[in-house]
């Protein structure tokens, strides 16, 4: 009996020691400074596209992630299959609710040692989650894509993986620039349209990988877009001529019914005569890119760069003239 008691105590002590012995360090996030594991073993991501995918791509141990629900009621990670070929079904990642409707009990059951959310996470929920594990808010909007990826790499102890891949990306940017010649003489507009065709979003910045690529390539923007005070704006159909440029980019495949055909039709519905009005469209330089091109991963960055390179550098195009 005494032996059993001693053994139980020893096991308990060993378990407690392993738990508490995890080396920690101070980390300052948007919501304060926290002690986090130096090498986290069980991370829960409170957003699929912005946090879970980049972490998984870096090789971080993601055990749970917020996600979406499709029309058939199945959970999925937005951009997961498209970008990295992963989803809940073919990984050990557990669904923990939607980013705006998190299942705290499921998160607790996963016994995470680090939880990562964003400014979109309900602050009250963040406070609740602090009782489970250090819960960090990463402000990806103000950090930008690269800094966000760097932060996630730093948090998960995968900085080395990120640095190597980022350097390769920068090298590829220089290669693309060398093909183009003078990238600053090329203008590009980033637009976003849902199949309903009721509003057009125009992005000055912060449209994930594609905006990072265009910025890194030093492409110019139409004056009206460059003058925007905010990152993006819902644009009046009457002013679409202000968006004309050498290249106008849009996106498809951001949702199941966002087929290229549906998105082209949505632009036309939004502004009848869209393609006749914009020289970019008249000359075949209004280009729809697949959804992963605005994702928040290194894979998305590489894809966006390849697509831009092939559309801009690998074919003839008609320059836009005011």
């Amino acid at each position: 009996m005494l032996k059993k008691l001693v053994l139980a105590c020893a096991l308990g002590l060993a378990f407690a020691t392993s738990t508490f012995a995890q080396e920690t360090r101070a980390f300052t996030a948007a919501n304060g400074t926290f002690d986090i594991p130096v090498v986290p073993q069980r991370i829960v991501a409170l957003n699929d596209q912005i946090i879970a995918l980049p972490l998984y791509e870096l090789g971080a141990p993601v055990v749970g992630s917020a996600g979406r629900t499709d029309a058939d009621g199945n959970f999925f990670m937005r951009g997961g299959m498209d970008t990295l070929g992963i989803d809940y079904a073919n990984t050990d990642i557990e669904y923990v609710g939607a980013f705006n409707a998190l299942d705290i009990e499921t998160i607790a059951a996963l016994q995470p040692d680090l939880i990562i959310g964003g400014t979109y996470t309900d602050p009250a929920v963040v406070e609740q989650l602090q009782t489970i594990a250090p819960t960090l808010v990463i402000d990806n909007g103000s950090l930008g894509l690269i800094k966000t990826l760097e932060t996630l790499a730093n948090l998960s102890g995968k900085a080395g993986n990120f640095e190597a891949r980022y350097q390769r990306y920068l090298d590829n940017v220089e290669r693309t620039k060398s093909y183009i010649g003078d990238p600053s003489s090329i203008s590009a507009t980033m637009t976003f349209m849902f199949p309903a065709g009721e509003e057009l979003w125009v992005y000055r910045t912060s449209l994930g990988a594609i905006s990072q690529v265009l910025s890194d390539l030093d492409f110019a923007q139409p004056a009206a877009v460059a003058a925007l005070g905010e990152n993006q704006a819902s644009w009046s159909a009457e002013l679409i001529q202000q968006l004309d440029a050498d290249f106008v980019f849009g996106f498809y495949r951001q949702q199941p019914d966002a087929t290229p055909e549906a998105i082209f039709a949505a632009y036309e519905k939004f502004a009848p005569g869209w393609c006749q009005v914009l020289t970019a469209c008249r000359n075949g330089q209004f280009i729809l890119l697949p959804g992963p091109a605005f994702g928040s991963t290194m894979t998305g960055l590489e894809l966006a760069l390849e697509l831009v390179e092939s559309h801009v550098a690998a074919r003839a195009y008609t320059p836009f003239e005011e």
């Binding site: 629900t69 939607a98 309903a196 819902s234 644009w235 009457e238 002013l239 949702q255 009848p272 005569g273």
Partner: protein
């Protein structure tokens, strides 16, 4: 107590008639102004040319004909419909805070459309008015029965509270549908804020005939609403079949509300605010309140949509946001005044 003279109704009628022409002029002016101004400044001659000799290859003409004109027409129709519906509801329920939104009809119609599109995959334009009507009618019946169950019966207060509860409940169901089906829900996001942007004008072919019948019926029934507003017993004493009249009025309100929701989404506060503004001028006679509400409501929504389009170019604001910004404070003011 002042003695009522025979000349008072005559004076009232003259005063009421005197507003018709200025109001029609104001509506026409607002409509033309809506077409003439926008995010892109256009010369008046271009606007005129676009209207009389449309050139589809000229984008300025496209702006006038295909962007501004349909929106102006939709604003006119929806503004008139919601205001007329609100006026009738306030009369029939003797509740100055009644409007299609507060009594759950707007949310009921929106709920039915959301359910049909996201759960059952119904996308046919022709079906939308019918779906919206069934939702609005369902919500109206539920609100009426809930208010009847309350001790004291269907009073203005119990109906308003029941309407608020039903609206909140259906709004929650819409949110749940959103959570369960986020991707396809994206297509309804703008519509749910109440918007005239990018709306399919061909929907008017399906809703227009019903709305026209409802407009005419509303105006024809208006005199009896004045009697009904005095109370059921008084109305019955004057020979009005109150049950039948209420059923007819409910049908008119449901059709106007549902078709408006199908056209522009759940726009709030128009049906509440406009009849009050109209009463300040024409008094409590529904023969005048009803048509005046339609005219003022049309002019109001056209004006609101102008603001939505030109306030902060190149951006556009959803029309529903502006109607709520204007309507909500006024609603609070009305409640406070009534509380006193």
């Amino acid at each position: 107590m002042s003695e009522i003279t025979a000349s008072e109704p005559v004076r009232h009628r003259i005063r009421a008639w005197s507003g018709v022409l200025p109001l029609l002029a104001m509506l026409a002016g607002a409509f033309l102004f809506h077409i003439a101004v926008g995010a892109k400044p256009l010369p008046v001659t271009t606007v005129f040319d676009a209207l009389i000799s449309f050139d589809p290859t000229n984008f300025d003409h496209v702006i006038v004909q295909n962007l501004r004109l349909p929106r102006a027409v939709l604003a006119l129709v929806v503004g008139a419909a919601l205001s007329l519906a609100g006026a009738l509801m306030q009369g029939v329920t003797r509740n100055p805070l009644a409007d299609p939104g507060l009594l759950g009809l707007t949310t009921g119609a929106a709920f039915a459309v959301v359910l049909a599109q996201t759960v059952f995959g119904v996308a046919a334009l022709a079906a939308m008015p019918w779906i919206a009507m069934s939702g609005a009618l369902g919500a109206a019946v539920i609100v009426f029965f809930i208010s009847r169950l309350v001790p004291g019966g269907a009073t203005p207060l119990s109906m308003t509270l029941a309407g608020a509860a039903v609206s909140a409940f259906l709004g929650t169901i819409i949110s749940i549908i959103h959570l369960l089906n986020q991707d396809t829900f994206e297509n309804l996001r703008v519509w749910l804020t109440g918007s005239l942007a990018g709306r399919d004008i061909t929907l008017l072919w399906y809703t227009g005939p019903w709305m026209l019948i409802a407009f005419v019926a509303g105006v024809l029934l208006a005199p009896r609403v004045t009697v009904l507003a005095m109370g059921d017993e008084v109305a019955q004493g004057l020979g009005v079949k109150t049950g039948w009249l209420k059923a007819q009025l409910l049908a008119v309100v449901v059709v106007l509300t549902a078709c408006s929701v199908a056209l522009a989404g759940p726009l709030g506060f128009i049906g509440l605010v406009i009849p009050h503004v109209v009463r300040l001028y024409v008094g409590s006679d529904y023969r005048w309140i009803v048509p005046y509400s339609a005219l003022v409501g049309a002019a109001y929504l056209i004006s609101v949509d102008i603001v939505a389009r030109i306030a902060i170019p190149p951006r556009e604001i959803s029309t529903g946001i502006i109607t709520a910004l204007v309507g909500a404070p006024l609603f609070v003011h009305l409640v406070r005044r009534r509380a006193r």
